[in-house]
């Protein structure tokens, strides 16, 4: 009933996910984005002549008998990936949090905060379940679905390059490898374009990506998915300083003196004026220089096909002079402020 994870997979990173649980209602999607796992997905049956066996991100070999036609996705990122691979019409089930693309709302929700609603899964008669790792899909539920005979592929991206691997893993599993290659090629081109634009800036400002500020100040851990994103966007991430810590004391944040504060919690009602009003924050360079920027956190933290768009938003937040016109702007946020 426990995940087939090794101790080293859990060791350094398990606590980073804790803050997600705390801020779960606000940012469940982040859970997928944070924390390493050492596996690289490999595809044994690369020619897609079913039946095939794929090795998922937990190292489990999953046999898939025929091209899946009734797919259940158990994370918002998996849902986005399946839609991006033009296979959205083969999806039958989703989680409570799948909000993109809008068509996802029409699918039957089969997972809530407490776990998978097993009856619904059985009733949908899936021929493939795309679960999420790092405890996002409860390990007990993954074991139960496998007991019931469904092929369950566990997907989990510990870092930015792993998102590409996951898109290709899902592509192989559902018989859409060509589409997956096209999506990852486009994303790699986008990453290169952003890297090129960022390289034109001379400075790498100290950037604090605020995951949440209540009751503690939640920040990226060093070398985490989010810290990597900040680096790719041309910032120097202010982190918790310890891979196992998920929050940063206010005193340390004041000493770190961020030059840019990115409000990853803007979707949940935190705006720049509120930051300036917090006791102790008024002296930070980012506050005095008006460099507190709200972002739409979903593309930034969700390990799916919109990640490059999220990275572009992050790069614009850190380097306001960059245009990156080919990437869509965030929806207006904190208008009142």
């Amino acid at each position: 009933m426990y995940p087939q994870t090794s101790a080293r997979a859990l060791g350094t990173d398990r606590r980073r996910g804790f803050l997600i649980a705390l801020t779960a209602a606000a940012s469940l999607a982040v859970a997928l984005a944070i924390g390493p796992a050492p596996w690289t997905p490999t595809v044994l049956g690369a020619d897609e002549a079913y039946p095939i066996t794929v090795v998922d991100d937990e190292g489990t070999e999953v046999a898939i008998e025929a091209e899946p036609q009734r797919i259940i996705s158990l994370s918002p990122a998996n849902t986005e990936i399946v839609f991006a691979l033009d296979a959205g019409d083969r999806l039958v089930g989703r989680t409570d949090w799948d909000d993109y693309p809008p068509e996802a709302a029409e699918l039957t929700p089969v997972a809530t905060f407490t776990g998978v609603i097993m009856e619904q899964v059985v009733a949908l008669e899936p021929d493939l379940v795309l679960a999420a790792g790092n405890f996002f899909t409860p390990p007990d539920d993954i074991a139960r679905m496998r007991e019931l005979g469904y092929p369950v592929v566990v997907v989990y991206a510990p870092d930015v390059p792993a998102v590409m691997d996951d898109i290709e893993l899902i592509g192989s599993a559902i018989g859409a490898s060509d589409e997956a290659t096209a999506v990852t090629a486009q994303m790699n081109a986008d990453f290169d374009a952003i890297a090129e634009a960022v390289a034109t800036s001379e400075d790498t400002p100290r950037t604090f990506y605020e995951i949440g500020a209540e009751p503690e100040i939640y920040a990226p851990a060093p070398d985490s998915f989010l810290a990597d994103m900040v680096v790719l966007a041309g910032g120097e991430p202010v982190t918790t300083g310890d891979a196992a810590a998920w929050s940063i004391p206010l005193e340390e944040l004041i000493v770190a003196d961020p030059e840019v504060i990115v409000l990853g919690d803007a979707n949940y009602g935190v705006c720049p004026d509120a930051v300036a009003a917090r006791p102790g924050w008024e002296g930070m360079t980012a506050v005095t220089e008006n460099a507190v920027v709200p972002v739409d956190d979903v593309p930034v933290t969700r390990p799916g096909p919109r990640l490059t768009r999220g990275l572009a938003s992050l790069a614009r937040a850190i380097h306001p002079e960059l245009e990156l016109a080919e990437f869509p702007a965030d929806p207006p946020m904190c208008e009142a402020a």
Partner: protein, 359 residues
């Protein structure tokens, strides 16, 4: 003077239709069995996925070997047989066990606020479960996971510690056991908080255990929990007379011929065993073990020989219905439902029998 006589002296001033049942516990028992049967049928027949009653009956009949041609989808059969049936039966034995243990603890401690969790069992089970979640290895023994096993062990270890520390075998009063239970429980709760603090991504698993859930029920764990709960319950029922004696106080019980120390230790042990099995199967489901015994006592009076079996029947039915509510509401934690349904019923009965209640 027996407790029944005592109860009659304090009979409620107000009389209602329920009052008639007080003198007819057998009628109430039969009514309870009817409610239980309806709850089981509803629990198996209803859920988030619609399966028609005739189909449900056909599937069950087929499984029992009574012909019935297979006209239903394979998924319907899986839902009824693999998911719903063990879940309903687990709810039955957990509700039954917690209610019987609640009657026993309330009687032993002579404390209306006592419930099966009062002597540190809850904290012990929760700490055990949390440790089970945190240990990153996979152990399954007879189909039980580490969480179930450690919750069971934790609950029993906690109560054994309380009993030892309070000197339960000696002259200690139930008050000192109660207070020791509180102290040990607080200590274990601190351990639980630490485990949750360190748990990272697994926090949600621990949290779900604390809220209690029957969603993970399966046949294997049911078949292990069932004999423990049923044996414990039968043995407690066989000692209802001792429990009645203990209700009157240690001295009176002694004069009635009850071996106070021995009976107390046995009843405490049995109730703890039943509680440990229940929390190991379903997590910490609150309210059932506190309120079902009170409701039954309000209706039939304090005689344990009547209260114990009625609590078992109604406790089982109550949890099946509460779990059905939890499922229909999209897998809410069942503890929320037990409180939402149970509290108003309890308050209503308290008001009705304002004058006549005694433990």
């Amino acid at each position: 003077m027996t407790t029944t006589d005592l109860a009659r002296q304090h009979a409620p001033v107000r009389r209602g239709s329920l009052e008639a049942l007080r003198r007819r516990p057998v009628v109430l028992g039969l009514a309870g069995l009817l409610v239980l049967a309806v709850a089981i049928v509803a629990g198996v027949g209803l859920g988030t996925v619609h399966i028609s009653p005739s189909e449900t009956i056909a599937i069950l009949a087929h499984r029992l070997g009574w012909g019935a041609e297979e006209t239903w989808a394979q998924s319907s059969e899986t839902i009824v047989v693999t998911l719903r049936l063990p879940r309903v039966l687990t709810a039955l034995i957990v509700g039954l066990g917690l209610s019987v243990a609640g009657v026993t603890f309330q009687g032993l401690l002579r404390n209306p606020l006592a419930d099966p969790y009062i002597l540190g069992t809850a904290s012990g089970a929760a700490l055990g479960a949390a440790i089970g979640v945190l240990i990153p290895i996979q152990i399954a023994w007879l189909g039980l996971g580490l969480v179930n096993i450690l919750a069971f062990v934790g609950a029993l270890a906690a109560i054994a510690l309380v009993y030892r520390v309070a000197g339960g075998g000696g002259r200690s009063t139930m008050t000192s056991i109660l207070l020791t239970g509180y102290a040990v429980g607080s200590m274990l709760a601190a351990g639980l908080s630490l485990a949750m603090y360190l748990s990272g991504s697994q926090l949600r698993q621990i949290f779900n255990y604390l809220l209690g859930s029957l969603a993970g029920s399966d046949w294997q764990s049911l078949l292990i929990g069932l004999p423990i709960v049923i044996t414990g319950t039968v043995l407690i029922l066989a000692r209802a007379r001792s429990l009645n004696g203990l209700l009157l106080g240690d001295d009176t019980a002694l004069h009635l011929g009850v071996d106070v120390r021995r009976e107390r230790a046995i009843l405490l042990g049995l109730a703890s065993l039943v509680t440990a099995a229940a929390v190991s199967l379903a997590g910490l489901i609150g309210f059932v073990g506190l309120v079902v015994p009170h409701v039954i006592r309000l209706i039939v009076g304090p005689n344990a020989r009547v209260v114990l079996p009625l609590s078992a029947i109604f406790g089982g039915a109550f949890l099946i219905i509460a779990d059905l509510g939890a499922r229909m509401a999209g897998e809410l934690p069942v503890g929320i439902i037990t409180a939402v349904i149970g509290a108003p019923i309890f308050v209503m009965l308290l008001r009705r029998y304002r004058t006549g209640y005694q433990l």
